[in-house]
Symmetry: D2
Subunit: 119 residues, 4 copies
Amino acid sequence: MSDDTLARLAAVIEGRHPAAGGDAATSYVARLFSKGTDTILKKIGEEATEVVMAAKDGDRTRIVVETADLWFHCLVALAHFGLKPADVLAELQRREGLSGLDEFALRKAQQRFDSGESA
Amino acid sequence: MSDDTLARLAAVIEGRHPAAGGDAATSYVARLFSKGTDTILKKIGEEATEVVMAAKDGDRTRIVVETADLWFHCLVALAHFGLKPADVLAELQRREGLSGLDEFALRKAQQRFDSGESA
Amino acid sequence: MSDDTLARLAAVIEGRHPAAGGDAATSYVARLFSKGTDTILKKIGEEATEVVMAAKDGDRTRIVVETADLWFHCLVALAHFGLKPADVLAELQRREGLSGLDEFALRKAQQRFDSGESA
Amino acid sequence: MSDDTLARLAAVIEGRHPAAGGDAATSYVARLFSKGTDTILKKIGEEATEVVMAAKDGDRTRIVVETADLWFHCLVALAHFGLKPADVLAELQRREGLSGLDEFALRKAQQRFDSGESA
């Protein structure tokens, strides 16, 4: 397992951008980019649903496959917005560093307060 | 920045499992584990929707934050099923190795055929 | 506007079930039924994402179209499980009758308590 | 049991809008309205996921309850954008009238063509 699977995959994805010479006729990723934001985001909704269904089946092989699909399409979305997986990993590291994930609870509590959902 | 971030974070998450001594009274992650599959999976649906909304706003900071949330809860789901981020990264590497992401198109075409959606 | 658009539509959908003579070669609904639970449920995740995206665009025409798609696929899912829209409407009426929607808040508060999300 | 259920429920929901005197301190719906678009849309993603999970369990009672939740939050979203359930029912009737749901297949095929997904 390399240290930079996500970074390498992101580089491949970026190379499929039409602006980088990606060809929508032959590349699935180039096609996603050329179709634009809604097509890319729709895949995130779809793949998240597939992760949920695989998990409800307790099918560990499919959980891995569908999570890979979900993360892959997240990488496409990140690239579409000029972002990199390193940005997401930095955010995850930042939280981990705060105090062993406690900020997750903190952030969630704050969100619920802001959204009024816990009232 | 590396895949080690995900592995390290997964280790922290695993340490919060009630079976590993995680305390639902003080840890958000322990609470997710103790509530079980549906609570964990519901977060994946929620966070995917938040990624979509942040992206529709073109808000790059929120895209990073919400993608971090989504991946984080994927790590919780993976741990819940005895899986590791390395399993997902291996699946992503496997596809990359096949022929530069072409298998994504292949797999998707097959899925559409299987599901009858492209008919 | 008829009083029973949903009931009538559900009857048409039920008539497309392979068991009722629906033909997957010519009918989209028959094809969904023949592909089974996951194909039907995946559409609910997809269409929900499309409602969210249309709403983020503030595009009222698309909000209506995508909500129609979402409800339509809910009707297919209900039929797949031997349920009818009347079952859902009865549940909605029951809550309304309790005290003007207050039970929604009640139910949600209870859910949050059960799931530990508000803790 | 009739579409009147949805119209009546929509009227109750509209009455909870802060502009109509709804009080976020006591009403869940008023609180959703006051929190705005993202809070409302997030609920659609959440409830869609809950429908999927209930259906994966084959739990017919929960399928009904969660579909009611999903439709309810769709009604809130419609009201938030000045739309009514009658608008959605009219769209469903329009398609049914075209030729017994065939337009659903048509529309989907067109969508897939537009999005390049079937290519």
